[in-house]
């Protein structure tokens, strides 16, 4: 199925728009991340990679494949298994103007280093009153994979996004992955870059402009993946794919859903979300993480605060189940939002089904 990718929100480095033919090149998210890292490392010798298995193993998920051979062991560092230690080392190096890209094998392991991400990286510019900036990127897969159990499946978007001083990005497609990673590496502030393991192998069409080495996406700007007029569905990372599928199903039933790919969790693009809700009057937020104090909670509150008068229905929040991730495949399927859940929520918001009293 050829997804019509809207290019409205890509701000090109040059002003001319091109006609995009349908024979656009396809690229997996993995290739997108790899090429973004490659290009940024080649453009700026201060960029270096650090993490477990990023070098000789070619990356735990092969994201950093080929980079060790190209740039050598001084710029692609295989670290011992010491998240707290090497994250702190990355922060210290960033204090002195180097641009480390620290990889966590999964963001669950970042909990061992969270002190450095928040206390040494996020807060330093503030504590030093602007003297010390920290141009570091923390990247890695976030959220649930397939059957990896409770300790490897948590989504950290809400945790990091609540912290001032951090920028939190979460790409969906290859274009997002490339543009946002390049922007993150060039950014003078600490960026938490939340990827998704299950998306690494997915292919997306990319235009020639995306393949250009100076392509960058703005931080803090969401993208409207699909336009609609009946209900706004916000999502990030893998859930964007689910939301788009749900929108297809809803379209067949006569509900035109507008899907917003958040791209940036912090700063949240409140203006795009609110503008969309003011147009459609209904909101469904989708996320994979735990429901309490989640990203959806923040979006709902933002809409209620700013666009309450425009709402025709209560805001709907779809999130993962409020339990640690179970292992059994059928339970895991129930613990993560599925396309049907999104469809049901959208219909509830449109009063096309019996309204439920509480989350099912």
């Amino acid at each position: 199925m050829l997804r019509a990718i809207r290019h409205k929100n890509i701000l090109p480095a040059f002003s001319a728009f091109r006609a995009f033919s349908s024979s656009a090149k396809e690229m997996t998210v993995r290739e997108a991340l790899n090429s973004a890292l490659d290009e940024e490392m080649s453009a700026d010798p201060k960029v270096f990679l650090m993490g477990e298995e990023v070098g000789e193993y070619q990356g735990a998920y092969k994201i950093t494949k080929g980079l060790l051979d190209k740039y050598g062991p001084e710029r692609v560092l295989d670290t011992p298994i010491t998240e707290a230690g090497f994250t702190g080392i990355g922060v210290g190096a960033a204090y002195y103007g180097l641009r480390p890209v620290v990889e966590f094998m999964t963001f669950n392991f970042s909990m061992q280093a969270i002190d450095h991400i928040i206390n040494s990286a996020a807060k330093s510019n503030y504590m030093s009153a602007g003297q010390i900036s920290v141009p570091i990127v923390f990247r890695g897969p976030n959220g649930a994979a397939a059957g990896v159990g409770a300790q490897h499946s948590q989504c950290y978007a809400a945790w990091y996004a609540s912290c001032p001083g951090l920028k939190v990005l979460s790409p969906y497609s290859s274009e997002d992955a490339r543009g946002l990673l390049k922007a993150a590496i060039r950014d003078p502030d600490p960026v938490v870059f939340l990827e998704n393991e299950l998306l690494y192998g997915e292919s997306f069409p990319v235009s020639a402009e995306v393949l250009d080495s100076s392509f960058c996406l703005p931080i803090g700007k969401a993208k409207i993946e699909r336009e609609g007029k009946d209900v706004t569905i916000t999502a990030f990372s893998k859930m964007v794919g689910y939301a788009l599928k749900a929108a297809e199903i809803l379209a067949k039933e006569g509900i035109s859903a507008e899907v917003i790919n958040l791209r940036s969790i912090r700063p949240l693009d409140r203006s795009t979300i609110n503008a969309s809700v003011r147009k459609t009057n209904r909101l469904v937020t989708v996320e994979e993480g735990f429901p309490q104090h989640g990203v959806g909670a923040e979006i709902c509150t933002s809409v209620i605060e700013e666009s309450f008068g425009y709402l025709d229905a209560p805001v709907e929040r779809i999130a993962g189940a409020d339990v640690p991730m179970p292992y059994a495949a059928n339970l895991e399927r129930m613990a993560v939002p599925q396309v049907e859940d999104i469809v049901r929520a959208a219909k509830r918001a449109c009063y096309r089904s019996v309204p439920l009293a509480a989350t099912a």
Partner: protein, 444 residues
Amino acid sequence: MSFSATNFAQPRPVPVGIRSNEKSLSSDPFRFRFRGSPSFLGSPHSLRFNPTPPLKLAIPHSRRSPAAAVTDVSNGKMVKSSANMLFGFVLQLITKEEGLELYEDMILGRFFEDMCAQMYYRGKMFGFVHLYNGQEAVSTGFIKLLKKEDTVVSTYRDHVHALSKGVPARAVMSELFGKATGCCRGQGGSMHMFSKEHNLIGGFAFIGEGIPVATGAAFSSKYRREVLKEASADHVTLAFFGDGTCNNGQFYECLNMAALWKLPIIFVVENNLWAIGMSHLRATSDPEIWKKGPAFGMAGVHVDGMDVLKVREVAKEAIERARRGDGPTLVECETYRFRGHSLADPDELRDPAEKARYAARDPISALKKYMIENKLANEQELKSIEKKIDEVLDDAVEYSDESPLPPRSQLLENVFADPKGFGIGPDGKYRCEDPKFTQGTAHV
């Protein structure tokens, strides 16, 4: 294995036990210990402490550094003839200028901390304030050997490290008062002193947090020299932390990586025997911290941290090693804090006798005595230094009092280095649209 100040051998595992009296020490002629007092001093409840250092520790073939002289002199032993004489001539450890510089720095540290206590009780300072009284020899001994480009990373007990590194007393005092003229414009406070100009990069409240950051700063120096080919990038990093931190995981992680990658860093342990109210001996399976260096393949040294000249000797060697690229050193400085952990600490658990013993080894009095006895300075000159520092501090307090509080607009500033934040550049447009932002030719 321990090392004398003038000889750092490669570490080899040597069984070491805790000695509690000098007899066993002198029975082992090949144990070089660079210290002026017998081994591990801990809570008086478990070890016997002999206050008089066994001067007869004249081990036959010992290469006792002449720096051993200072504490011995201050303890009333006339050792000039044996210790100050090496190969038949008198070695002058420091020149008069160096001596006065060290003295002034230690006096500044001491008087500053005393002034902090006064200001705290008058309500001008608030929150957590951790004072450094008694440990000045470590700060002065190490930091006065550094260049301006070298880095210092500290903990919450960072006022004196900031002063030794060159941050003006005015800036530190205003920061403590929370005024806009402070070194961090009042946004950091007592525990978060940062000065980019003086390469003091914190000020970390969590113990162990500064160690990886310091290791990263050392890493950046190596990276600049080897990858970015900046030949002049030989800056060295000092990480200061306490005995309690030496039980923290991050400490070991960094010892490993610093030795693995041969980073130009010196890990300075200010072992003052107490982590708030927890005695080092109650918290640590093997209290001799310097031994943990050789376990990771780096030199581990123990030094008497109440003696600034000894600290300086050890520091010189360690800094030179780091600068020429031979990797890290772990230095354990045995020292003591005369005050409580912080101004809120009632300090009831420490034995007054222990405090008195260490008070007798006050590093400032020891240096004063050394300088006078070795005719490096007279009472008058030292008194004039003290007077000068008094004036500096009075000026600092007055300046801080008169400085304005931070304006309201400052609350939301500096969260991001990005001036307008959120990927928006100074001209109001998205940064990624600016051709300069996307500059750099990627050769792919």
